[in-house]
Amino acid sequence: VSTALDPPVAAGATRTGDGDDRERLVDLAERVAGWARTGEDVEVYVAHGDETEIRAYAGEVESLTSATSAGIGIRVVVDHRLGFAWAGSLDESVLGETLDEARDNARFATQDEHVRLAVPDGVAAVPVDLWDDSLSQVPTTRKVELALALEAQARSADPRIRQVDHADYGDGSVEVALVSTTGIRSSSRKTSGFISVGVIAGEGDASQTGAGFSVRRGFDGLDADKATDDAVNRAVRLLGATKGPSGRHTVVFDRRAATTLLSVVSSALSGEAVAKGRSFFAGRIGEQVGGATLTLVDDPTDSRAYGAAAYDAEGLACRRNVLIDAGVLRAFLYDTVSGSRSGVSSTGSAVRGGFSGTPGPGCRALTLAPGPEGFDEEEVLAAVGEGLFVQSMTGVHSGVNPISGDFSVGAEGLMIRGGKLAEPVREITVASTLQRMLQSLVAVGADVEWLPGIAAGQTIAVGDMQVSGI
């Protein structure tokens, strides 16, 4: 069966081709905000996105999705009461209905002096270029070819590869406008493209899995070799893995696992969690929460970061925030409401999950201050000498609690012996508390890689963790 699809015909009436849609979205948002009544503050968030997803399997295109979506989210504040409503459409008929619904919801909220919309704070946005035209210019046939080539490459990469579980190409673009009656007027747009491959390696009765990917703003530079090598290497090196013995070890987390760890720590740095007593960091500003090697910064103005942005989800300029400096807890991240509640200004850190979500404070681009130049995975392993190398974790949602700090995850990886990777292990857990892990951070790699998500990947080593196996 052929996979010709050139050019793709996207669904939906709002498709505007390759043009810039931001002006139209701003106009629409302004028009809706203009319907505010006296005594009301209204904030209108409008988003429009296009996406393509291709999955290859056994030399064929298993599925191809082409889609456009658009929607609106409206917050109304009346008398310090907040209401919210959203709709998955920008049809004229739903706009007024959605505003009315938000208005009605506000009547039922508790009056709270801290509830308010953002007002411009004079901080200028740092321009970040997050748009790559190549995604809309490259014909779908080439995207299909890339997915098929990725699958074929992974299948033949190593005689021990038994199956390619998935080989995907995906891209998307999103344009957003935010307008409020309190003076906010911002718009932004970004693109992303990715390839992702998962393989199953086998030897005898044993099977192991590995995944690899490559992410860019556009089509060019998506690296099938890197994605494949990564997937194959991760699966193959686990072959023969056994359940390791229990004991206390220094644990090296590879870059992907480290991204996950930082993301978990970030929820404890939310000013809202702190203000509501849901963070183990509450009340500890100025205290030593880690060693001198621990410096943690959230900087969405770094355009290399996957989560880079010029404006936050309330339309304020994103900015660099130093959260932990040489082990000392310095600051939390705030949006307008949580800031007001804590007697501080917003740090430009509002995030939201698209048009159907309301804003709250969160990280976009966390990094640890890197170790000395050239200090990469190999060097970290050499420095650690003996321990456990973790290449993937499971059960992070069920075993890590950013409120209590309790930390217990499933892990697979390899033992570290004589500063090098040794025998593979699986079906083990790694446990500690987040508080103790920050204090026991013994090495931070300089191998910063911006992975999908809200934190950078860099190899890290944490001392004195309990490993459970046999």
Partner: protein, 467 residues
């Protein structure tokens, strides 16, 4: 409502460039939620989303497009996009007939649909429930320092028509109430969570006491203030009835989904007819059970929900199937084709997955365990279907010493391997119950139920910090 002649024209357009199968999935979904946090009603939110997803299957390839525009022209554009993938198939046009809408096979009630707010009861009633939960949680103990109570409802009307002449519709109302508490003590912060969720409207609250949920959540947080670190290493584990069903969801449920099986990406591939579990294990997936969280009238491919026995007294009897994987094997779907919204392709998913009860007394099972861990509540889990390795996390657990439940333990994950763990079940009690959950797969979340009676595993690795 989309008229039959329109559906026929859209399906014909979808197959105009070739392809063997086309389907329209239309959905109208309203949601509403209210949150009481930190003693305040912080947020009432409502939303509405409607649209259609159209897929075309040509050979091994599925083309998919979705649109929020339910007019005939919007649907035709989506159909054209989906069919473009089959453009070189060259099988010519195919006429499609769709039966009149009145023959729909949906088991759900006739809906009023309506705006987002129909998805919950009156706003005032909802807030009263949240306030009652907040008060009950705070009254449970002085250590309760924070309470978040949330109530969410959704109404989802779906219509499925395909080129094989199927026309089905369903209406699914779901309501969920949850309480999460923080307790503060000398040892820091601890958390407790409890939720009730059913495929029901506001009638959920005829069956569920929000005060009871709040007290459970609060007690869970309070008891962990004096908890000691969970052990590390392998021990016998007794799982209390209800949330322990997550073990089966992870240890074998996902591995029995046919999409993993046909790609040879499951440890259970090729094992039908073989002994895969202790003879005490009879595992069922059933989308028809009462108003459980994973219940529906028809699945998201228009197939009525059904009861499927997966493991019968330890013998693997069947896998779970959706349309596409079943067609390949020349059989029919088992009613397990589900999708998160019209913007997603359907895939094989569980519904309500549970272990049938056994004959033992739950207290006796504990009494006959000299040393081990008693897990009263699990929070979630994850599995790698290819290796069978899975984890599940405790949110309320205790030590068992001398056949008695003693000290509370801090939260930890347990880790095991599906096929090995299923053979280590040596006791199943009579006290069956179900728990709601949200299952994530390939970026899509769907509501599921899981359940079991109190049971014992002879050995599981517990990932605590105690040596």
């Amino acid at each position: 409502v989309i008229e039959s002649p329109v559906l026929e024209r859209v399906l014909s357009e979808a197959l105009r460039h070739g392809g063997e199968f086309a389907e329209v999935f239309a959905e109208d979904r309203s949601t509403a939620s209210a949150l009481l946090d930190d003693g305040r009603v912080e947020e009432l939110s409502s939303g509405r989303e409607r649209g259609a997803g159209i897929r075309v299957v040509a050979g091994e390839t599925t083309g998919f497009a979705h649109t929020a525009d339910l007019s005939e022209s919007g649907l035709l554009r989506a159909a054209e996009a989906a069919s473009a993938v089959a453009r070189n198939g060259g099988r010519g046009t195919k006429t499609v007939e769709v039966p009149a809408l009145s023959t729909g096979s949906g088991a759900g009630a006739d809906g009023q649909g309506g705006s987002g707010l129909a998805a919950l009861g009156s706003k005032g009633d909802t807030l009263a429930l949240l306030t009652r939960a907040d008060e009950a949680a705070r009254a449970t103990g002085d250590g309760i320092s924070q309470v978040l109570a949330g109530c969410g409802g959704s109404r989802r009307r779906v219509l499925i028509a395909n080129s094989e002449g199927l026309l089905a519709h369903d209406e699914q109302a779901r309501t969920r109430f949850s309480v999460s508490c923080v307790a503060t003590g000398d040892t820091g912060l601890q958390t407790g969570f409890e939720t009730a969720a059913r495929t029901l409207g506001f009638e959920l609250f005829d069956e569920v006491s929000v005060e009871e949920l709040a007290r459970l959540a609060a007690s869970r947080a309070l008891s962990k203030l004096s908890a000691r670190p969970a052990p590390s290493g392998e021990l016998p584990v007794v799982l209390a009835g209800g949330s322990g069903g997550i073990l089966f969801h992870e240890a074998c449920g996902h591995g029995l989904e046919a999409d993993h099986i046909v790609k040879d990406a499951s440890v259970y591939t090729g094992m039908v007819g073989q002994q895969v579990a202790s003879p005490l294990v009879t595992l069922v997936d059933d989308g028809t059970v009462g108003s459980e969280w994973g219940t529906f009238g028809v699945d998201d491919e228009g197939r009525p929900a059904q009861r499927n026995v997966l493991i019968d007294q330890g013998i693997l009897t069947d896998y779970l199937w959706d349309y596409l994987r079943a067609r390949k094997e020349g059989r029919v779907s088992s009613g397990n084709g589900r999708r998160q919204t019209y913007q997603h392709l359907p895939m094989v998913r569980m519904t309500n997955t549970f272990l049938l009860p056994g004959e033992e007394d739950p207290d006796e099972i504990v009494a006959q365990t000299p040393r081990g861990v008693y897990v009263a509540k699990l929070g979630g889990g994850q599995v790698n279907t290819t290796t069978g390795d899975f984890v599940f996390g405790t949110t309320e657990a205790y030590l068992i010493e001398g056949g008695r439940i003693t000290e509370p333990l801090r939260d930890a994950n347990l880790i095991g391997n599906g096929p090995e763990i299923l053979k280590r079940i040596d006791a199943v009690a009579t006290d069956f119950s179900m728990t709601p959950g949200t299952c994530g797969k390939d970026g899509q979340s769907v509501p599921v139920g899981c359940g079991q009676a109190t049971m014992r595993l002879t050995g599981v690795t517990i990932g605590g910090t105690a040596e």
